[in-house]
Symmetry: C2
Subunit: 510 residues, 2 copies
């Protein structure tokens, strides 16, 4: 039996490439957290150089000749010689390295460097454009990035739409054809559900979340919850950034960020739990495979399932607050005096069409994604021109959510993603939402005491289950295969829709 050890000359090279990529991630983390404003241009160049080198090393003759000994280029699968088969880890490792290699090979190194540089710059312009509410300021950079992404799709090749080439980067196997029925199912049941909620005689007041909450204490509480979740601060940090994110340089150094607003108690709280879910995934990857696909997360959809599972299934549940609400009350005595768990539970689960995706409730969130999914598909296919974006955005907001952003900053400029070229990224948020319910319901089946554990602040059982079932496998299985292996089913909107109808039917007495 041939094992991963057989692949040593290849894995040594992969490890070096991963270290360069990790270095680039440190630079990006710094850019979002501590870098002084003036340093942006130089930073874009530094990151571009590192990404260029990592790309060159991956597509090198050296890696190619190693791979071609072991992989059949026609199928992308490991080639077995009679009587000396590969074990499963090596087989997966080769399949995934081949995937990365053959994709990368299609992109010229110059193109990779240019794309990296333009995306870093566009991101910085986007920050300013959003601040000043000037879409036209961002438009030239958006055009450049969009042209480059369409060029990328041409380099990569695709069936059907060029958008499929980009989707597959973030969610291996995802296609427009696969996603459309999922979004259609969501639309069919979520839109009526939302209407019934809006018309319900139950009106939830979330005013309690908007009192004045000391920012330092909010952060301390976030830190407490992260610790309870098993996020290891010896191998991580919590910092502030304009947009919360998680980044990993190695399982021993996985960082999360949050934001904190004095009059938005839910903002820091759920950012911490959400990013903590991402952080646990990255801290739970198998260190022995670091640098190889087996030590890497499998897809953005699965990654997001971890953050949403913790944020929604745990963090917006009654059992969780049975334990944590008294502590929160201790932390903010004046503000939360006399509030019941039930009132707090209602406030953090209030459904309300709103402008900003990251502040949306569990239900309307997916409509925000659907809108982006449709728009970016048309942008990449050339059916929509960048200059028309604000109008199209506002029209779709009206159609799906019944509200129109008063400014572009609260509309089309709200998300960073397109500025750094992440077309095809948004749908993974909805995949994450759906997977999170599939996984959590499976955990409930396999851990019969889970609810009681959560209600007593014991979150480690769930964390261990996720680590064993999902985190430690890296890219051993494809996302669809992993979901099937854990839950018996690939992506499926049913569990989410059932969960939503039950939870919100009860909350709004529908």
């Amino acid at each position: 039996m041939k094992t991963v050890a057989t692949l040593e000359p290849l894995t040594t090279r992969l490890l070096e490439i991963q270290r360069i990529n990790s270095a680039a991630s440190v630079l990006s983390w710094d850019q979002e957290t501590y870098m002084p404003a003036g340093g942006g241009e130089a930073r874009a160049e530094q990151i571009a150089v590192l990404q260029g080198i990592a790309h060159e090393k991956l597509v090198s003759q050296d890696v190619e000749s190693l791979l071609s000994q072991w992989v059949d280029p026609a199928t992308g699968q490991a080639t077995d010689t009679a009587g000396d088969a590969w074990d499963e880890p090596s087989r997966s490792l080769l399949r995934e390295v081949w995937r990365d290699f053959s994709r990368a090979k299609k992109l010229p190194s110059d193109f990779v460097v240019q794309l990296s540089r333009e995306c870093s710059l566009a991101q910085q312009v986007w920050v300013e454009a959003k601040e000043k509410n000037q879409f036209t300021k961002f438009l030239p950079n958006l055009r450049t990035v969009l042209d480059l992404k369409r060029e990328e799709a041409r380099y990569l090749g695709y069936q059907g739409s060029p958008y499929n080439a980009l989707l597959d980067v973030y969610e291996p196997g995802a296609t427009i054809a696969g996603l459309q029925p999922v979004f259609a199912a969501l639309k069919t049941r979520l839109v009526p559900l939302l209407q019934r909620i809006t018309q319900s005689r139950v009106q939830i007041n979330d005013g309690i979340l908007h009192h004045s909450y000391d920012q330092t204490r909010q952060l301390e509480f976030g830190r407490l919850v992260l610790t309870a979740m098993g996020y290891d601060f010896e191998r991580g940090r919590l910092d502030l950034s304009a947009h919360p994110f998680t980044t990993s340089f190695h399982p021993t150094d996985v960082r999360v960020t949050t934001r904190v607003h004095e009059q938005e108690l839910q903002s820091c709280l759920f950012s911490c739990i959400h990013e903590g879910g991402h952080g646990l995934y990255d801290q739970g990857l198998d260190q022995q495979y670091f640098g190889t696909p087996l030590g890497d997360s499998v897809s953005l959809g699965i990654h997001e399932s971890q953050s949403r599972l913790w944020e929604n299934c745990v963090g917006r549940s009654r059992p969780f607050w049975r334990f944590f609400f008294p502590i929160l009350q201790q932390t903010f005595r004046d503000q939360l005096h006399g509030i019941t768990i039930e009132q707090f539970y209602g406030a953090i689960n209030r459904v309300q069409p709103s402008l900003i995706r990251v502040e949306a409730d569990e239900l309307t969130y997916n409509l925000h994604i659907m809108l982006r999914f449709e728009i970016e598909q048309d942008l990449i296919e050339g059916k929509t021109q960048p200059e028309d974006l604000p109008a199209i955005w506002n029209q779709k907001m009206k159609e799906y959510l019944g509200i129109v952003p008063p400014t572009d900053a609260e509309g089309v400029l709200q998300d960073v993603h397109w500025s750094f070229g992440a077309f095809g990224y948004f749908p993974t948020y909805t995949l994450g939402n759906l997977y999170s319910i599939q996984f959590f319901e499976q955990a409930m089946r396999e851990l019969p005491n889970l609810e009681d554990e959560i209600a007593t602040g014991q979150l480690m059982g769930l964390r261990r289950w996720l680590e064993q079932k999902i985190h430690r496998w890296g890219r051993m299985f494809t996302p669809a295969h992993l979901a099937e292996r854990v839950t018996g089913s690939t992506i499926n909107p049913e569990p989410f829709l059932n969960y939503a109808e039950k939870k919100y039917g009860e909350l709004y007495q529908l």
Copy 2:
């Protein structure tokens, strides 16, 4: 006339190498400021990979063939073809690139990676050994690093002592033979001066520095002084670290750190001013030459002259405090109520033999350096064994300063330098002290209102003078040539000794 533009294929490569080095510096900055404890091992590997790549790119065939068109390998100088000479910047650029290239060429890439990795690891062990006061814990790593540095000296080649090969890395042109007379002159006049001070009937009490000072306010005051000095926070940051340092990724991103202790007012204050002096140098480098030696600082000695000039000539002077003491008094009303500028001036200039170099006064500081200069020379030459270091350290402390450290943490383990292989670095601190006086006295001659400006908080005139005379030239001139160009003299202990005898003669009424 051939200009730097002629060198474009070379400068493009240098720029890429510089960006990789800048990335490695970001990783080091993060290691010292924010990295979680668990991330150290992975970080050492990331930095080692980047340094290895930068090294490989510098010694590449590509760079060699470009250089060999333009530089005479026998002299290391640009080769002129009849009627088409190089201008001065190109000539300097070629001389300095050749210096870097030919040094790097002597070191195998594997060796560079190994040295980088061992130094990162040894530094982390040193932190722990110092905390626990266990020299033996650090000893194996010190041995490894020392062996590697002796190997480095053999690779580089040297005349006389292998220590000369290492000195020259930090201070081009410096040798034992050149430094010994400097230290001898210092010893001859500083030791008797110190004796007279100790026996003086004037006793200075610095108790005022050790009251309780709010740490946030200390940092705010440090920030205020940095701003007054012209340190640009749009292109920089102030953070906390165990040991204050300055690092630069580009003139648009130059970061300083400080430390702050509640009962040591001078610690944060003078760290800020000192590192601010370094920061101004790096922010003052010429951006158009970034990536080439003309956009790089010339030597550690000259770099240290900038920090010491601001720290001592400005920050420990009466005119400076005439402006800043009332502000400091406003900041700390209770603690500084009724204190005169003269009392404060005395406290921050008190001379007292002490254990820790970084806390030493202007006079004893150089004796701390002399001790390290002698010890590291013997270590590299193999005359001293690492295991004997604590005993030798304590014996020399007794001899030069009349005191013996009660623990190794306050003795031989106090400095980080040897852990990361920086043998030959310490003497540049004394060079910086001497140069700082030479430069400042020249500034006084050329800026007749300087004292008045400082006394009214206007520090920009001095900053501009330093930028014009020193910062913007990068490595255009050798350190000795630069000093001569600015002051009419190369390194010279006389001005410092005269300054010291005058200042402390007056303060201690000798």
